[in-house]
């Protein structure tokens, strides 16, 4: 499991993450929600050691992340930041192969090749595997990066706005893939997400942040109610139940 | 109110500057000055002080315009290849019309500077990665490119040492009759004052300015014209003074904010004051010799710029 204790991060005088303590359950999808600047991405970044927190500690599998060897931690936990543009001439397969770096340090073994193939197939990219990234559409590129994370085969996967820049069809595709990962491979997925309905439809738990503080953390059913959502976003919500899922209408 | 303080400081420093020199002239005896003393005053001292003030104003305003037009606080004649372009222009004059008057130097320097500024803006515009730090890095490299062209030709004509030393701004050679080109800075400052806001809008980009009904190209070119003319005039008469156009606008913006109409006079006057102080220091430090002002300003300016850079964040 992922456990953070009193995590704080400040830039200059501005406190971005304020004393966050949270225990994220294993094998589930947890969505981090909140308005712009609430500190979601920063929190995610500190868990993934991309950003150094000013205070607090982060425990993964009962062990502080600072006690991990970089290479070993990269076999436990992976992060994908918002759509990143690469200027490199890389094929999909080459990119996905990088996911195996923590295991093989660049010299791919049989197992690695198998995992790479699997990951590419998992994201439906087999036909494109020899195409250069720059030839792909935004959605395909995003899937290629996700395939790299899948190939990395870590128990914990952190995603920062994985649906950014994707149209509805691709968004649904990605979310289904993630659900699949969590159910079939027992992966723990934590993601920052802006679309409340995607969060509600696909995640098991929701953590809400506001002004750097964690203000709610509960199962999805308990978070998606008008009172709590209003507290998080300061606008009114109407909750519609359909197919045993909760849909939010906040458009009026 | 504060502008008054600055003006008083300017006047005081100008008077001080007038009375420093190898020949001792005292202001107290003004009514008993000999013809010779008057001559020194009008031929050498007064032109020098005036040139200092005009250069200080000119360069800081140019820096300000460039910063507005690129929307980047670290762009200035030093960090955009402008100084190097002026140098290349002077080299071209020396090669093509060796014994020419300074007006030819001005024309050549102006033409090349103008061209270089257009290219630089085009580059700055095409850089996707609009990091505030990256654009001056490219600008300094761009200056290096122009320098390599200059060196290429200077080496052919065996004038590397001369070319190398043009970079140093120096006021000791200023005499009545050889510095008047600098007055070109005056109308430019006035023009800048009226166009200040338009330059800012231009900096937001072509579409943005068209949306506000501005003629993007003509204002862009006007801005570049102002900068290139002043910098070339200064380069031809005095030489180049690094960092001045960078630090003065930055300090003023730190102190008084970014409302151009309001801060423009401060920037102009502070530029002149800073230059006067550096000149006085340079003249006193190894009296009766002097340290070229390009050196004093380059040193102080470079250090101030580093401080500005490091406190950013």
């Amino acid at each position: 499991m992922i456990k953070t204790t009193n995590i704080s991060k400040q830039y200059g005088d501005k406190i971005v993450v304020d004393n966050v303590t949270i225990e994220i359950p294993k094998g589930k999808i947890t969505s981090l929600i909140g308005s712009n600047g609430a500190g979601k991405s920063t929190l995610l970044g500190t868990i993934a050691r991309i950003i150094n927190a000013n205070h607090g500690e982060i425990i993964i599998n009962e062990k502080n992340i600072t006690d991990y060897k970089n290479r070993i931690l990269a076999q436990e936990l992976s992060i994908l930041k918002q759509m990143n543009h690469l200027d490199l001439k890389l094929t999909v397969k080459e990119l996905v192969s990088f996911g195996r770096f923590p295991y093989s340090q660049g010299r791919l073994t049989e197992v690695d090749h198998l995992k790479i193939k699997e990951a590419i197939a998992f994201l439906n990219l087999t036909e494109l595997e020899n195409n250069y990234l720059e030839e792909l559409s935004g959605g395909q590129q995003q899937r290629a990066f996700l395939a790299m994370v899948v190939a990395q085969d870590t128990d914990y996967i952190l995603l920062d706005e994985p649906l950014n820049n994707l149209d509805m069809r691709h968004s649904v595709q990605i979310m289904k893939t993630l659900k699949d990962l969590s159910v079939t491979k027992n992966k723990t997925i934590v993601m920052v997400i802006h679309d409340i309905n995607f969060a509600s439809y696909y995640s098991d738990y929701i953590a809400a942040m506001k002004q750097g503080k964690l203000i709610h953390f509960n199962t999805t059913k308990n978070i998606i109610n008008p009172k709590i959502l209003k507290e998080i976003y300061d606008i009114d919500f109407e909750i519609i139940e359909s197919n045993n899922k909760l849909i939010c209408n906040y458009y009026n | 109110m504060r502008i008054l303080t600055l003006l008083i400081a300017l006047v005081f420093l100008s008077i001080l500057s007038l009375f420093i020199g190898v020949k001792e002239i005292s202001i107290v005896d003004i009514f008993s000055w000999t013809d010779k003393e008057w001559l020194i005053m009008t031929i050498s001292r007064l032109p020098r002080t005036l040139a200092l003030i005009l250069t200080g104003i000119g360069i800081s305003i140019c820096g300000l315009i460039m910063q507005q037009m690129t929307q980047n606080k670290f762009v200035s004649p030093t960090t955009a290849g402008t100084l190097e372009a002026a140098k290349l222009g002077i080299l071209a004059t020396l090669i093509f019309i060796p014994q020419s008057a300074s007006i030819y130097k001005l024309i050549f320097a102006f033409a090349i500077t103008f061209l270089a500024s257009i290219i630089f803006l085009k580059i700055a515009d095409s850089i996707k990665h609009k990091s505030i730090i990256f654009i001056p890095v490219v600008g300094l490299l761009f200056g290096g490119v122009i320098n390599s062209i200059t060196t290429f030709f200077a080496f052919q004509f065996n004038i590397v040492q001369d070319v190398g030393t043009w970079l140093i701004g120096d006021f000791s050679g200023i005499l009545q009759g050889n510095y008047e080109v600098i007055y070109i800075c005056l109308p430019i400052v006035v023009l800048t004052y009226f166009y200040a806001n338009k330059f800012t809008v231009i900096g937001m980009g072509e579409n943005f300015s068209k949306n506000l009904g501005l003629n993007y190209r003509s204002i862009l070119h006007l801005g570049l014209l102002c900068v290139s003319l002043s910098i070339s005039a200064i380069a031809v008469t005095i030489g180049t003074i690094p960092f001045l156009g960078l630090i003065i606008p930055n300090i003023i913006s730190l102190l008084y904010g970014d409302n151009l109409r309001q801060t423009l006079p401060y920037t102009a006057i502070s530029g002149a004051i800073f230059l006067l102080i550096c000149d006085i220091v340079g003249r006193l430090i190894i009296f009766p010799f002097e340290v070229p002002i390009g050196m004093t300003v380059g040193l102080i300016g470079g250090i101030v710029f580093l401080i500005l850079l490091l406190r950013k964040k």
Binding site: F98, F101, G106, Q152 | I133, V137, L140, G144, F155, I303
Partner: protein, 316 residues
């Protein structure tokens, strides 16, 4: 992968052919002495090429930017200032006061000292903002240049000729005893760096991906910055500054090898660099007949190419 190997082999052949041409072209009948001199020259070119090629590729990977060269960090300004100060102090007695070997090592020490202070300072304060590092290097460089120009202004023109000899890169007046020291440094840099080229492949994906894939990013960046420092210092002290060479050869390399693997890119870039310099030197000696110094040609062409790169693409 195979195609890359083929291309490398081709480059090796071209480089060997050019070197052979350079060594044998128009040899006088009493060829022993000329041949020896030329061999040293070729060795010098190989050393400089390897250091420039290696340093430039690594530097561009660390900065994720293909239009930069390590020369801009201010090393060369330190070198120029040091040379100018020596000539300023000792004038025409320069050579009796300080010999080539002392000059070589002192230059390297000063450049490395500068790099060390720069890196220490930045990493302490900024946690690795490479562009800031560059800009500060550049500004310090401009500062040193100001002092250098001032000193050059007051140097006696005859002494300036001595200076001109050391501040424009040239393969004609290298002290050949220094080559072996330089070669040692380069070999060490390759030996310690080679096993780590794979990390560079990962770093080229970007800082966040690199950390995600378990790279100790900051440590590796620092390690390679020091390697770059050593390489640039050695090649500058040996032949003087060649600023734009790095940009020229790296971009040619990327054009020819569409690869991200540093184990291929770096050797390829060194080879391309050897081919360019030997070619340029051949032109200098036999076409322009010594009228111009090689670094000036390279900077001129490299500079123009740099402008072309800047204006050509919208992705920098």
């Amino acid at each position: 992968m195979k195609i890359h190997i083929k291309k490398i082999i081709l480059l090796v052949l071209v480089a060997i052919a050019l070197c052979a041409l350079f060594l044998s072209y128009d040899l006088p009948s009493n060829w022993g002495y000329s041949f020896e001199r030329r061999s040293y020259k070729v060795l010098a070119i190989i050393i400089v090429s390897c250091s420039v090629g290696y340093a430039s590729i690594v530097f561009q990977t660390l900065t994720h930017n293909r239009i930069l060269t390590p020369s801009i960090m201010g090393f060369e300004a330190v070198y120029l200032l040091f040379q100018t100060i020596i000539v300023f102090l000792y004038g025409d007695k320069t050579f009796t006061v300080i010999n080539d070997k002392e000059n070589f090592f002192l230059s390297i020490i000063f450049m490395l000292g500068f790099a060390f202070i720069l890196f220490k300072f930045i990493f302490k304060k900024e946690k690795n903002n490479l562009y800031l590092l560059l800009l500060i290097g550049l500004v310090l460089g401009t500062l040193f240049h100001t002092i250098t120009s001032f000193l050059q202004l007051i140097i006696d023109p005859n002494d300036f000729l001595i200076l001109q000899g050391s501040i424009y890169a040239s393969f004609n007046k290298i002290n050949y005893h220094l080559l072996w020291y330089a070669l040692t440094v380069i070999i060490i840099c390759f030996a310690v760096g080679f096993r780590q080229f794979k990390y560079l492949d990962v770093i080229s994906l970007g800082k966040e991906h690199a950390i995600n894939l378990g790279i100790n990013y900051f440590k590796k960046v620092r390690f390679y910055l020091f390697i770059i420092g050593a390489l640039v210092a050695v090649s500058t002290a040996l032949v003087g500054p060649i600023i734009f060479l790095g940009i020229l050869v790296t971009n040619l390399t990327y054009e020819i090898f569409k690869s991200y693997k540093h184990a291929i890119l770096i050797p390829a870039c060194c080879l391309i660099c050897i081919i360019s310099i030997v070619g340029a030197q051949f032109l200098v000696e036999h076409v322009f007949s010594f009228n111009i110094v090689i670094s000036i040609i390279i900077n001129f062409i490299g500079g123009l190419y740099f402008m072309y790169l800047l204006l050509k693409t919208k992705k920098v």
